[in-house]
């Protein structure tokens, strides 16, 4: 076995991920070939659909918004050593907070309402994550189980509330009353016509802000310092005078709050009403996004964009190539997760061989 030489930074951070995505598409391309379509054309359609024109790009960003929030939610908890599988349910419950405030003050201008809906969504999401956090901190109940179970409970609760409480009589769909246009979070297209009809809205800049916010929180505040200490070594955190229990509860609540912002995008930004299952799996995609992004906001942003592009590009592909169904899109997404996430190191050894410098490694003095 030869000495392992670290790859140049650009190879590690750019070339390797690019090669991984290409590999995923290569395998996806074989699937496309199998159904008798041209893979190159398919890739072109996907790329064009995701980035090539205003509408498409807007849709990409709209999906990205959701995935950023969900990815950040999972990441933040992860830094404290907690695996939050419950972003799906937390976002779902947050929808309730958003809609309650929106309907209560329906007709009020969005400039006033957006902060209110944001806070309401975040609070509801935070609440739904706080309970598992509390149970973990005080009762030692494993947060993985409790968040899974809370997803199921959220489904039941929301089903009841939407179908039986919020649904106006005489409406056939199981959904809440509508939020008036002035109250809804405005679409970016109202300011930037480039985005065409796409639903990307003011929540997107908020997501970008959240990326910075979480980065700042984790790496530039005392709180973040404590969170990371806790995540890496709870005993050392205890030694440092940090209250592990309190920190677990706060971190879970913050994580749920972030997940709750998905609801702001969906309920107040896109749907304008509360519908069943509006999360549509965004919370689970958030897990993949967080881990692929190595729980770092830059990574989360890129992974969220990748998934946003896959969702939107996939839509275009399914639309333009009827032979390619939505299930194939899911398959291609799976391949991307597999090759860029789980098998991301596969190409490292060959790259290391290629980039291994001739000269023997400069020895760092052993001490």
């Amino acid at each position: 076995m030869s000495a392992r030489v670290p790859l140049p930074a650009w190879v590690d951070r750019i070339l390797l991920p690019v090669l991984n995505v290409s590999l995923a598409f290569l395998i996806g391309g074989i699937v496309v070939l199998l159904v008798g379509q041209n893979p190159l054309e398919a890739v072109q359609i996907m790329l064009y659909g995701a980035f090539g024109y205003g509408d498409g790009f807007g849709y990409t960003l709209y999906y990205t918004t959701n995935f950023i929030f969900a990815g950040l939610a999972v990441s933040l908890a992860y830094h404290a050593g907690l695996f939050n599988i419950g972003a799906e349910g937390q976002g779902y419950i947050a929808g309730l907070g958003v809609i309650l405030v929106a309907l209560w003050l329906n007709g009020t201008h969005w400039a006033l309402m957006m902060p209110l809906m944001l806070v309401a969504g975040a609070l509801f999401g935070a609440f739904w994550a706080f309970i598992p956090g509390y149970l973990q901190a005080k009762r030692g109940s494993h947060v993985v189980i409790t968040t899974i179970l809370f997803n199921f409970i959220a489904t039941s609760l929301m089903s009841y509330l939407i179908s039986r409480v919020l649904k106006p009589a005489g409406v056939s769909a199981d959904e809440s009353a509508r939020i008036e246009a002035v109250t809804r979070v405005p679409q970016l297209r109202e300011f930037i016509p480039f985005f065409g009809y796409s639903p990307v809205n003011l929540t997107f800049p908020l997501a970008i802000a959240a990326l910075f916010g979480v980065w700042f929180l984790i790496w530039r505040t005392k709180f973040g310092y404590a969170v990371r200490a806790l995540g890496f070594n709870p005993t050392a955190a205890h030694y440092a005078g940090i209250s592990n229990a309190r920190l677990i509860m706060i971190t879970m609540a913050l994580s749920g709050g972030l997940a709750g912002l998905v609801a702001l995008n969906e309920v107040a930004g896109v749907q304008g009403r509360l519908i069943l299952n509006f999360m549509a799996g965004a919370g689970f995609v958030g897990i993949a996004v967080a881990f692929m992004g190595r729980a770092h906001p830059i990574g989360v942003a890129l992974a969220a964009l990748l998934f946003g592009a896959l969702y939107q590009g996939g839509q275009e592909l399914a639309f333009s190539m009827p032979a390619i169904t939505r299930d194939m899109i899911v398959t291609i997404q799976a391949l991307v997760i597999l090759f860029t996430g789980a098998m991301g190191e596969m190409l490292r050894p060959p790259l290391e061989r290629i980039f291994a410098r001739r000269a023997p490694a400069v020895a760092r003095p052993a001490e």
Binding site: D55, S159, R164, S172, G272, Y311, G314, A318, F319
Partner: protein, 307 residues
């Protein structure tokens, strides 16, 4: 060319999306005219895909499911020269045809059959989850059964609490079993894909199931009493055909028992199960519903069921 956009459950949901597809397919086979189609994966794709079809000149554009209501309002207004059709909702725009079914009426007739076929005096209904449309089926069914036998016991059990429930035949089978255990001998499934589990469990126990949406009598001949047909396929076919023949109208089409848009399926598979008496009772109720003598309550009007 015409186009179809399916609702969230997807083209092959063993329910009304599939029915829509069948209608479009029949039209295509008969006329040789192709049709565009798209299955959404997220709610945000509704508007996007509908607009894409409209921009590419598809006409008419048909969508099954009331979830399309908001979308069609937006997009139909943008494309006044394109014709749209929506099934299960009313959209009052000059270029939209609305097709609504009175599922409660058809379910009422099916309920009559169930009550008459039951030997135990207990029957069941299995909706996928607590959802107004599904409750409308269940509520009509209960009214029909009670009209035959006011003392009949009707078990009503949901499989799950969200759209996932449509994909859970294992859960459907178990729910059916729980009703069978409690004495039900006729069970009406209103659960899409999960309904197959219901019918399977009922057939395994050699009792009677009732299919929904399309004719499912053939699935377990001798163990499917009937199916509550909802002729989405016919409505789709007719819409496309009307457009082709120049007969397109932008009106509200209500399909109830009177219009033969809903009702029980009779065919060779359930011939042996349906007595003349049952046929007569159904015919009588059909006549009374048509004449307005019987008004079947629609759950959706007030979110509640009188029985």
């Amino acid at each position: 060319d015409p186009a179809v956009l399916y609702d969230g459950g997807g083209k092959f949901d063993a329910s009304f999306n599939e029915s829509t597809f069948n209608g479009a397919q029949r039209f295509s086979e008969e006329t040789g005219i192709g049709f565009g189609e798209f299955e959404i994966t997220t709610d945000a794709q509704r508007e996007q895909a509908m607009r894409q079809f409209a921009q590419r000149g598809a006409n008419p554009i048909l969508v099954p499911g009331f979830n399309w209501e908001t979308t069609i309002r937006t997009v139909a207004a943008e494309f006044p020269d394109t014709n749209f059709a929506i099934i299960d909702a009313v959209v009052d725009l000059p270029n939209v045809r609305s097709i609504v079914f009175k599922e409660h009426e058809g379910s009422y007739l099916v309920g009559i059959l169930a009550a008459m076929a039951s030997e135990t005096g207990t029957i069941g209904v299995v909706p996928a989850f607590d959802f107004a449309l599904l409750n409308a089926f269940a509520c009509g069914y209960k009214q029909g059964a009670k009209s035959v036998n006011p003392d009949i016991e009707i078990l009503d059990t949901y499989i799950g609490s969200g759209f996932d429930a449509f994909n859970n035949p294992g859960g459907g089978a178990e729910v059916a079993q729980s009703q069978l255990d409690r004495g039900a001998d006729v069970i009406f499934q209103v659960a899409g894909g999960a309904g197959q589990g219901v019918l399977q469990a009922v057939a395994d126990a050699d009792k009677l199931g009732i299919g929904v949406d399309s004719n499912q009598n053939h699935l377990h001949p001798g163990n499917v009493l009937t199916s509550m047909l909802k002729r989405v396929d016919v409505a789709t076919y007719n819409a496309f055909k009307d457009f082709e023949d120049g007969n397109w109208t932008n009106e509200i089409i209500t399909l109830g028992v009177a219009e033969e848009g809903v009702g029980p399926a009779f065919d060779e598979h359930n011939e042996a199960l349906i007595t003349d008496e049952m046929r007569a009772a159904v015919d009588e109720a059909t006549a009374k519903i048509t004449s307005g003598e019987i008004v079947v309550h629609d759950f959706r009007t007030d979110n509640s069921c009188p029985v």
